[in-house]
């Protein structure tokens, strides 16, 4: 259950997070296409931290499903930023969060196999997303 984390302070850190995510994906035998999807999801999450909060972390964890049938990569993006007031709103298509350049959180949800978000105004946001190896 060991986690590896990257702290996001500047744009370069997005690349570091993608790199770590890709390495972990390779270790878990996740295919090339899914590696690229995971990297894009990480970009999205890290860019949100970079753009809207002081700082935050992107952590990675190798997980197994309860029956040990498959392995997966769990991504935890956490910040102590302003939080999200209306989560349903940011989960709508077309309501992009990263300066018009991204697919936003709905994009992350589509790129990954499972997605969860907890946010409290003034306290911060945590996104947890998983991609299973096929």
């Amino acid at each position: 259950m060991s986690q590896s984390c990257v702290t996001i302070n500047q744009e370069w850190d997005i690349v570091a997070a993608r790199h770590m995510g890709r390495e972990k994906s390779k270790e878990l035998n996740i295919g090339t296409v899914d590696q690229a999807r995971i990297a894009t999801a990480i970009s999205e999450l890290a860019r949100n931290i970079y753009l809207y909060t002081e700082s935050g972390t992107i952590c990675f964890e190798a997980i197994e499903d309860p029956h040990h049938y498959k392995k997966g990569l769990k991504i935890i993006a956490k910040d102590e930023g302003p939080g999200i007031k209306d989560i349903s709103k940011v989960m709508e298509d077309g309501f992009s969060t990263s300066g018009g350049l991204g697919a936003g959180l709905p994009g992350v949800k589509r790129l990954m196999d499972s997605f969860d978000i907890i946010s409290e105004e003034g306290k911060g946001t945590e996104v947890i997303a998983v991609k299973w190896s096929r």
Binding site: T32, V33, A36, A39, A103, G107
Partner: protein
């Protein structure tokens, strides 16, 4: 052509044939492959991936740098794949919305439905067609216990769903007015207050209300900024505009609506309409009043209902079968004495 399979093997065979022959048949099948793939929700990055696999199978000695370049290309396709997924959800959502609007339009029709009154000395025709699914025009007939016939015609400034909602409001409000207030001036004053109170600023309604008294063959009427109708004076074979005064509903809480009167002789015709008729657009220009009256004249000898329908069909065709605004037309014709 053999039946089509959506898999790596199939793609590899097509690609192999194309690499050997550079034939159009293979390219046509590439097109079919991608269309079928799209139907099966295959994303563009997956096409790139299948291409990479097929290429490696066909050319095992592919230079390493070219292999790498393909990974780079794959990376650029992820965002396009996301857009495709968003397109699919949007299409689904749009479908739902359109069927919702259809249901709402049906409800509106039930709600706003009205029966043409059966009066001895009148021949009445009415047609109302929305430009889109929901109608922002409205017309309604009522007959009171003395046999007087009320006719309302209204137009919300604006179209579509908000206009339709506003129209429903008008209908409910009118239904709840006490019988004693059913003269044109009072009705419009009442409605004006309802609109003022309930409708957001920026949404206006124009309305004409007429009340026909069969005993005296006169029509009392008031208008709230509504498109003027026409009065056809049979004896002189002449049309004239029906002049009124009164501001649109919802602008001034204290507005009053002066009432006028018109005497109808045999064969006289009152034409009520919305601006969807008079502001009919043909290409770049609007139609002239004279042209509208000429069209009316061409059909007014017919029974009133047939006449309004013919006029509508004429204008529908003139506008290339695409109405720019809701279209409502009412003929109120005093019959020959029998």
């Amino acid at each position: 052509m053999e039946p089509f399979k959506l898999d790596l093997e199939n793609y590899r065979e097509l690609l192999k044939r194309y690499m050997n022959n550079q034939d159009e048949t293979s390219l046509y099948q590439a097109e079919l492959f991608s269309k079928l793939s799209m139907q099966h929700n295959i994303l563009p990055e997956e096409i790139i991936n299948i291409h990479i696999q097929a290429l490696k199978d066909l050319c095992p000695d592919i230079p390493k740098e070219i292999d790498m370049s393909m990974n780079f290309l794959l990376e650029t396709m992820i965002s396009y794949g996301l857009a495709y997924q968003e397109f699919q959800s949007l299409r689904e959502k749009q479908g739902e919305l359109e069927s919702e609007i259809s249901v709402a339009a049906n409800m509106q029709q039930t709600l706003l439905s009205t029966t043409k009154p059966d009066v001895d000395d009148l021949d009445i025709g009415a047609v109302s067609v929305p430009a889109n699914k929901m109608n922002g025009d409205y017309y309604h007939f009522v007959t009171d216990e003395n046999g007087n016939v009320g006719v309302a015609i209204a137009d919300v400034i604006g179209k579509g769903i908000p206009a339709a909602l506003a129209m429903s409001m008008i209908k409910y409000s009118m239904d709840s007015f006490p019988e004693t207030q059913r003269n044109p001036s009072a009705i419009l004053e009442n409605l004006n207050r309802v609109v003022q109170r309930n409708v957001e600023s920026g949404m206006f309604i124009t309305m004409f209300y007429g009340l026909y008294h069969p005993r005296t063959s006169t029509m009392a009427f008031s208008s709230a900024g509504h498109e003027p109708g026409f009065y056809y004076h049979a004896e002189q074979d002449e049309f004239c505009e029906i002049k009124t005064e009164g501001i649109v509903l919802g602008v001034d809480e204290n507005a009053s609506y002066p009432q006028f009167e018109l005497s109808l002789a045999e064969q006289d015709l009152v034409v009520l309409l919305t601006d969807g008729v008079t502001e009919c657009r043909i290409g770049d220009r609007f139609i002239e009043t004279d042209e509208v009256l000429q069209v009316i004249r061409d059909y007014m000898h017919l029974p009133a209902q047939e006449a309004v329908e013919q006029v509508y069909r004429y204008f529908e065709r003139l506008q290339g079968f695409q109405l720019r605004d809701d279209f409502t037309l009412i003929f109120f014709k005093k019959k020959f004495h029998q």
